[in-house]
Symmetry: none
Subunit: 406 residues, 2 copies
Amino acid sequence: MDVAKKIVLVVLDGGGDRPTVGKKTPLMAASRPFLDHMATEGILGIMDVIAPGTPPGSDTAHLSLLGYAPEEAYTGRGPFEAAGVGINVRPGDIAFRGNFATVKDGMVVDRRAGRISDTRQLAEAIRTRVHLDCEFIFKESVGHRAALVLRGEELSPMIRSTDPLHAGEPIVSSTPLKDDDSSTRTARIVNEFTRQVHLILKDLPINRERERHGQLPANMVLLRGAGAVPHLVPFEQRTGLKAAVIAATALVIGIGKLTGMQYFPTKGATGHINSNIEGKVDNVNKALKDHDFILLNIKGADEAGHDGNFDVKSKFLSHVDRVLSKLDIDDSIITVITADHSTPVSLKEHSGDPVPFLIRGKGVRTDQTNEFNEFYAAQGGMHRIRGLDMMPVLMDLLGLRKKFGA
Amino acid sequence: MDVAKKIVLVVLDGGGDRPTVGKKTPLMAASRPFLDHMATEGILGIMDVIAPGTPPGSDTAHLSLLGYAPEEAYTGRGPFEAAGVGINVRPGDIAFRGNFATVKDGMVVDRRAGRISDTRQLAEAIRTRVHLDCEFIFKESVGHRAALVLRGEELSPMIRSTDPLHAGEPIVSSTPLKDDDSSTRTARIVNEFTRQVHLILKDLPINRERERHGQLPANMVLLRGAGAVPHLVPFEQRTGLKAAVIAATALVIGIGKLTGMQYFPTKGATGHINSNIEGKVDNVNKALKDHDFILLNIKGADEAGHDGNFDVKSKFLSHVDRVLSKLDIDDSIITVITADHSTPVSLKEHSGDPVPFLIRGKGVRTDQTNEFNEFYAAQGGMHRIRGLDMMPVLMDLLGLRKKFGA
């Protein structure tokens, strides 16, 4: 079999958009010599990562792109965040994303506790002094972020989270979203966590110190994204491909870890537009030496989309184009460039618009398109596929798909 | 209604491919005056005969193209092969493809018994002297091929077949693939068949004779492709179209027969690149006189793909183009040219790449494409459809689809 042997899947997080300035999308307005060269050699298409008109989350989108039906695997974002921050989650665990926050008289003053950066002492106090009616694991992450895992029997993700999502609103009292014992019990445990965390944090010296310096105290942890850790068949077991994940955000790292991929940390990878994406591309080149499948997530475009900043998004994509040109790829590697979802600057949120994609490498049919953006992708030879189609298509290019029939 | 009245569905078996020599596919490199003329007058598209990235078997592919969901109708290739060699199979029968083979001390020496050509006496010996714990029908086919049907209660297709698929390996002892009585019983019957067949064949005078002449004895029948004969609603009952099948391979003939089509045998139709495809086209023209739907399968491109021979595949497709130009078709006949799957010469196996198709005839919309190959098909006005979409599209062109709603 004369086929390609490896796959590099590059996900420009939130990279898709809508025509805005001069009827162009940020990707259309970007300088793309490398991506256009790839488009010329490869084939383009558009992809409904979930389904037409459905805005994907980054979590469900990445699961789909990796071939895991989110309808089966996904109950909430918490499990992937928790795995991403380094908690060794187990199937059945109930996991949450958490924010260190400032509260006063039951109201949320600041959801990020004045963008606190070092929460190690606070997290340690929670770990040692909180006592719940089940085993729990709490871990701080970058900035104000953290993750909580509840472990044991009779737990459920079907509960209301405590984060009201907006400052000025009261802390949400968790309630069961399903009328069963485990949901009722889990809501009670979460409320107990909230109560104890506030009692412990509010009087910690570090918070007193912050207040003395006019900083907001981190006297609460708000929880959201409750989910049950799914049992995911490891990616390598499903595909035979030894896989690596290169990403900055806990979510994508967590999805990689939960599917058994090796995580290559990148110094200076922040998930922002100032991220060290050169370092990430170096890591891809390193990982390619002894891995067959590399998932590279580049986050900045999503952030610029959420900020509604066309120029920043477009310039970041031009920067990505320059950096991606340093990928050590040739015909023996199936390279895919796509996005997990569109984050139109006009919307400042994920949209259900299809994302553009290109596939290039040995055996890939070419088409007449020579530019990589939303406009040309819609003319591409792959037409329109779904996110869950991507892995079968790529596996087939490696000659690894099983025939249905004889 | 001013609509076309008939359909000719031409399946270039394994005709699709990947860009290989000079970035062209064999079909792109072929001379195609007729097909390009059809493309100019008709509309093109690409088709996932099963699903994106799923390599179809010829069996599941033809079922899909004829509108039978293989997920429902298909348990294995045996039933279609058995029907194709002329066994009058019944729903519920368990059927196998078989090879006359040479074995020694339980090991397979040659899966084709030195490409034996006349197995009539051997088959007759099996029919008269083998005694099983159920009714059975055994029939020789062309060359070393044969088919076995087991009939009765308590039989199951969920068993391991006896053919190891490679010479130098031991005959497989059949075992149940499902923990139930019927699978256990069927595996036992199959092993008993294997035992008796060897005892009977090894001492037959014809085999002694072969050995004296230095030829390999045909002292075994290896079985594979176990499947239960499905109940298929006859094609004419489903569509109202009186149908005919013109093909060389037992598989496609069998699918035609099992769906109630009339089989038009063609002298010299071999399924190889030397096949009498002129005769097949003559048969199409003959069948068109009193049939409404003709399935024409032309096999050679698949063989060349499996052999990995680009030039042979491309030249065969040029030859096909010349011969198809003799089809007696006009605007009143919806003509479809497509493939059941791609068999890329670079892969030597079926792939999950979409296949190109064209549709031409009265009422068909046209598009801007004027060439028939994978590259232009991907720009065609039909975009990308699935195999199961084809029959509804064709029936609709005949004005025969039932309105959904009012």
